[in-house]
């Protein structure tokens, strides 16, 4: 049976031209601690996690077109990747060394995010609420109070400028992370960076698929099989 049998209108139905609009973007900023204490297995696991992150994002058709990854490392503060979609983004090989200027990294990250939003607005790209993901194995060695104030000002139910998540590894100062992030900080179980990035990839995939008013149901990472615990 051809399609024509389905149509009982009098004129043949045309195939109209549709717009090749760019996909809306779902920015994800990673703020990664690369201070001296990350040397050895930790930085190696983090690097492997980033490679897996790219693989999983590109394997998800929607995430591959919509998620944009940006990376700032601290120890010292350095932009490793400007915001890019997973196909273009090359996971950097990070090296550990130096202090933990977490406050400065957060402030620079927020500036980088704001600049990206300006580009979206100027080019007519629509976008989702950005995610910021901070991962550290220590505590800030610089002033972090103004960074914390910026996060409180942006990650709340009125402003909703972004969602900020903090993840502590091993000896991270969870109490300070709790004062920086509005959401309860998560503690990574052991060295499960890979599981963390796998979760992050699938969560971003869900966000990038969401429609108006959809409540995005994220998998809870704080389960016996998940990658995180809460203090």
């Amino acid at each position: 049976m051809t399609d024509d049998h389905l149509l009982d209108d009098q004129m043949p139905f045309p195939t109209p031209d549709i717009v090749g609009n760019p996909e809306p973007r779902c920015p994800c900023l990673l703020l990664l601690d690369t201070s001296g204490s990350m040397r050895g297995q930790r930085i190696a696991e983090l690097n492997a996690g980033l490679v897996a992150f790219k693989d999983e994002l590109t394997a998800d058709a929607m995430a591959a077109q919509r998620v944009e990854v940006g990376i700032i490392t601290f120890g010292p503060v350095q932009v490793q990747s400007e915001f890019q979609t997973p196909d273009l983004w090359m996971p950097p090989t990070l090296r550990a060394g130096g202090e933990t200027p977490m406050g400065a990294a957060i402030e620079q990250g927020l500036k980088m995010l704001d600049a990206r939003k300006q580009v979206y607005k100027q080019t007519g790209l629509s976008y989702y609420r950005p995610w910021i993901f901070l991962i550290t194995d220590g505590g800030p060695t610089d002033a972090w109070q103004s960074a914390a104030a910026l996060i409180r000002a942006g990650d709340n139910n009125e402003k909703k400028a972004f969602s900020f998540f903090a993840v502590g590894v091993e000896n991270a100062k969870m109490d300070i992370l709790g004062q920086i992030a509005v959401r309860e900080p998560l503690r990574l179980k052991g060295m499960r960076y890979r599981d963390l990035f796998s979760w992050l990839s699938s969560s971003l995939g869900q966000v990038s698929r969401s429609k108006p008013s959809d409540a995005v149901q994220l998998n809870n990472p704080v389960t016996p099989s998940g990658w995180a615990t809460i203090e």
Partner: protein
């Protein structure tokens, strides 16, 4: 020169809804009413039920039914002059009261019926449009050159996945209303599901190469029986071209009062009529 209104509409469930078994949460309808003064008024409304609201398809159907009812009666009795801002606000209040009553009976919240509303009321020399939420209404430009303008840009706020609903607090603040004078010959209303296929988001324009051939097709059809979904639009909205680009519910309503194109393919017309009478 204008002809009688011909219109077509359809709502089709998104492929993501088919996968998880949820119903089509869009609703839409269109009809022409005769006024007591001897004119005609076209009424069209599309409504998109919120994805996460459990009974939003009911909200959407209620919005459309109440629109046809209230606006239909007013236009029949008093013509389009009856449709002004207070009238639309009264309709919105009534819709919200109905939803609240239904929610109270079911022991749930009004927000569980969350839906958008896009309405068009078009008489010979005057048209009234209104909108809460995303999706858009597109009308033909004034000179019949195959150009199209949107009436309201989709309401999305800062993020792609946020919009307004008739059930939200102070919904009247989100309500946009526009009254246009002069004839409107072609109008299309559509929900968020096909927004990114038919609007150029960077240029902020309606994509004429989408609308032009469809309106031309529509002008060559016969006026439909009231209350009938268009099989052709139903088929198109479920087609690969559309579903490759959107997994959401989608509604498209189109109406024209342009004369049929001159080079109407009469052979095809005759063949279709023949096969219809044979069937």
């Amino acid at each position: 020169m204008t002809a009688a209104w011909r219109y077509a509409y359809a709502s089709v469930a998104g492929t993501s809804h088919e996968k998880n078994g949820s119903p089509c949460q869009d609703a839409g309808s269109c009809r022409v009413v005769e006024t007591s003064g001897g004119g005609t008024v076209l009424l069209a409304m599309a409504s998109d039920g919120a994805g996460s609201a459990r009974r939003s398809e009911e909200g959407a159907r209620l919005a459309v039914a109440l629109f046809l009812d209230e606006f239909g009666t007013a236009c029949r009795d008093h013509g389009i002059a009856a449709i002004d801002r207070p009238f639309i606000l009264a309709w919105l209040s009534k819709l919200r009261r109905k939803i609240a009553a239904r929610a109270a009976r079911a022991g749930i919240r009004s927000g569980d019926f969350a839906c958008t509303a896009l309405g068009a009321v078009i008489a010979d020399e005057r048209a009234v449009f209104f909108q809460i939420g995303d999706g858009a209404i597109v009308v033909s430009g004034p000179h019949g050159r195959g150009e199209y303008d949107w009436v309201f840009w989709p309401q999305h706020g800062e993020f792609a996945n946020t919009t307004n609903f008739v059930t939200q607090r102070e919904a009247a603040r989100a309500l946009e209303i526009e009254i246009r004078h002069g004839p409107i010959e072609e109008v299309a209303l559509f929900t968020d599901g096909i927004e990114r296929l038919v609007l150029d988001l960077a240029g902020k324009t309606a994509h004429a190469p989408f609308f032009r051939p469809l309106f031309r097709w529509l002008a060559g059809t016969k006026p439909p029986a009231t209350g009938e979904t268009s099989p052709a639009l139903l088929h198109y909205l479920g087609s690969k071209q559309v579903c490759d680009r959107t997994d959401d519910d989608k509604t498209l309503i189109m109406a024209t009062r342009r004369p049929a194109p001159q080079e109407q393919p009469s052979a095809i017309h005759a063949a279709a009529a023949k096969s219809a009478s044979a069937g």
